[in-house]
Amino acid sequence: MTAMTLTQSFVTALLQIVVLALFVFVAVPVIVFAERKVIGYVQLRLGYTRIAGGLHGVTGGLNRLMWWMGKLPFFSILRGFPSFIADGIKLFTKEDIVPEKADWWVFHFAPAISVVAAFTVLGIVSFSPAPLWTWPAAVPIVGGLPFAGVISDVNVGLLMLVGVASVGVYGIVLGGWASNSKYPLLGGLRSAAQIVSYEVPLTFSLLVPVVLSGTLNFTQMSQYLSGAPIQTSAGPAQMPALAILPLFIGFFIYLTCGFAETNRVPFDLPEAETELVAGFHTEYTGMKFGLFYLAEYANMIIVAAVAAAFFLGGHHFLPFGLQRFIPPSVPVVGGASFGWFLLWMALILFSYLWVRATLPRYRYDQLMHVGWKWLIPLSLANLCLAALVRYFA
């Protein structure tokens, strides 16, 4: 790092940002695709298997291709693949309608706030322990430099994450308010109350690994969960076996709050389809709606990434610090890898879809009840447990 000139570090960061943005822009449609497929399969359907259009021309050819894909073992799952490109084209090219009585500035800025908050947070998530690749020497400016798996390895990463992510709610509240319509207003107000109250247990449950290890940094947390001793500003730390218990409880509290933070079933009150039509984005069309959509799915990726990094072993195979039982000498499973991180993220994202397909939706007051009367005391008790473990270990 020290060898980098200012230009080099600037260009490296820029490249990383581009790669990350591309990753999100690809991952979100893939999640949407997976969502439709998973919910389809759960409901004994096939999800989408064709695209709109005639029997002739490009669409006809694609439809025929997908029909034949249906007969092949693995490819049958991928039927309907062109639709996620079609979704993007549709969102970009749709007419952009602004309600006459809407607050023009706020209406336009609200989706941007949501997206900016979501993407900023992604900048501090450490996806890979080691550099993903090294640029070959022939490349100008950055030749010979590594391409790290994290844009900025902030040593107060978690603090920044919680802080910036909570800005995202402004997008929803302002979007709901600026539409000057009744259903979006109700949706925006609901989400304000919901996200503010679930922020508390979310943070408390995230504090558990922090208290145990004494670090807020993604990479160090991953090392800690693998059982290796780490050196933090709060002193050296190594994971005791008992720490598995608070981590385990904390993970479930975190996941529940994560559902609420990203407005997913069973806490999808701000956009409760059968009550508020579409909630806060009822009046949004085209790409402004697309940005809300993007922000929601980017937030899902963040929640999954944080859960993977702070509870599920980060870049290691086994969750909750069980990795200590596998010596690092074991091939593949023993080491830290980019792949394990993505695997855990994928599993958590799948659980989002699975839960969405199964559970009904809470009512507004019951949501508050669950948040304040159950999750906050539970997460506090769990935090105390973690503190005890840390103290006696």
Binding site: T274, E275, P360
Partner: protein, 374 residues
């Protein structure tokens, strides 16, 4: 004294909001005008008439035979029971004796239709509350019933299943097997709905104690059907005034004392099970014989009036006919539509509750707008 501090006091005002007629969970074109204080419902006014087609008036201009096709289109999710009410009402008016086999087949189909209607209710009610998957599981099992209807009379929804005096044709070969297959699939299907909902904490939170309607109010409002039985009143037209082959069937009236949404859910599930029992009995005890009585080609009525009611899936479905001398068509026809009467309970159920409970209440009343507006 502290008038200058008035700006510190939040000014609140009630918000008027239109739930429908184009809304995902008002089951068609029901419009509910709500006055909301925050999310609490202060006043709730159902507004109907968006689907009015004048069925009663049309039927007055059609012959006794023809009128049946309009009954299909009233409660379109339970067309067979509507047909049954029409056919039996006209038969009562003309004093036609229907063969026993026809009675059995009618009972069988009507009970299958009750299961189908309750499945559709459960599907949409669960979807309103947010459980998406029950919807498709219900439709999977309902599909088999619609196939049976298609095998029997050629149509899936607008069945026009019966004729005055019996049935048009005997049951097709192979329908017996279809019904038995359905009963087998249904017994596992209903277990699955229960697994997903009955014990689910979120489902219970959304339904237990929500949209209560006590027996006293229900009787005063004229509510019938599962909503009344869930309030603990064991009134069922099938038992009280048995028609078709119900008198020979062995079944219980499902009741619950709680009078809330969860009780109505349990009552309807139990009714589905009882209906399956009746279907089984009809199938096992299906008598041999003709399916059509001897009736004249043109029915001419005397001066008379007849009210005939049956237990439709939504409640008591009554047909009122007035005939004139030599009339080939009803002089006056009126339908006591259960959904129409049941909808009256909506303000009583929802006022003072939250917005989300209105959705649950509309769902639990199981209204079909085709029947309300007629």
């Amino acid at each position: 004294m502290f008038v200058f501090l008035e700006f510190l006091v939040f000014k609140t005002e009630e918000m008027e909001i239109n739930l429908g007629p184009q809304h995902p969970s008002t089951h068609g074109v029901l419009r509910v005008k709500l006055r909301l204080d925050g999310e609490t419902v202060v006043q709730c006014t159902p507004i109907i008439g968006y689907l009015h087609r004048g069925v009663e008036k049309i039927c007055e201009n059609k012959t006794w035979f023809q009128g049946q096709v309009w009954t299909d289109r009233m409660d379109y999710v339970a067309a067979v029971t509507n047909n049954l009410g029409w056919a039996e009402g006209v038969e009562k008016l003309f004093g036609i004796q229907v063969p026993r086999r026809a009675h059995y087949v009618r009972t069988l189909l009507a009970e299958l239709n009750r299961i189908a209607s309750h499945q559709l209710w459960l599907a949409t009610h669960a979807l309103d509350i947010g459980a998406m998957t029950v919807f498709l599981y219900c439709f999977r099992d309902r599909e088999a019933i619609l196939d049976i209807f298609e095998a029997f009379c050629g149509a899936r929804l607008t069945t026009t299943a019966f004729r005055i005096g019996g049935l048009r044709e005997d049951v097709p070969p192979g329908m017996d097997r279809m019904v038995r297959n359905f009963l087998k699939a249904f017994s596992t299907g209903i277990e699955e709905y229960e697994t997903l909902l009955s014990e689910n904490r979120i489902w219970k939170k959304r339904t237990v104690g929500v949209a209560k309607l006590q027996a006293k109010d229900a009787v005063a409002l004229g509510i019938t059907g599962p909503v009344l039985r869930a309030a603990g009143v064991p009134y069922d037209v099938r038992k009280a005034f048995p028609s078709a082959a119900y008198a020979e069937m062995d079944f219980q009236i499902a009741t619950r004392p709680e009078a809330d949404t969860y009780a109505r859910y349990l009552v309807r599930l139990e009714e589905m099970r009882q209906s399956a029992r009746i279907v089984q009995q009809c199938l096992d005890g299906l008598p041999e014989g003709p399916v059509m009585a001897k009736i004249p080609k043109i029915l001419k009525s005397e001066v008379c009036e007849v009210y005939h009611s049956i237990e439709a899936p939504k409640g008591e479905l009554g047909y009122y006919f007035v005939g004139e001398k030599g009339g080939a068509n009803p002089y006056r026809m009126h339908v006591r539509a259960p959904s129409f009467v049941n909808l009256q309970a909506l303000p009583k159920m929802t006022e003072g509750n939250l917005l989300a409970d209105v959705i649950a209440a509309i769902g639990t009343l199981d209204v079909v707008l085709g029947e309300i507006d007629r």
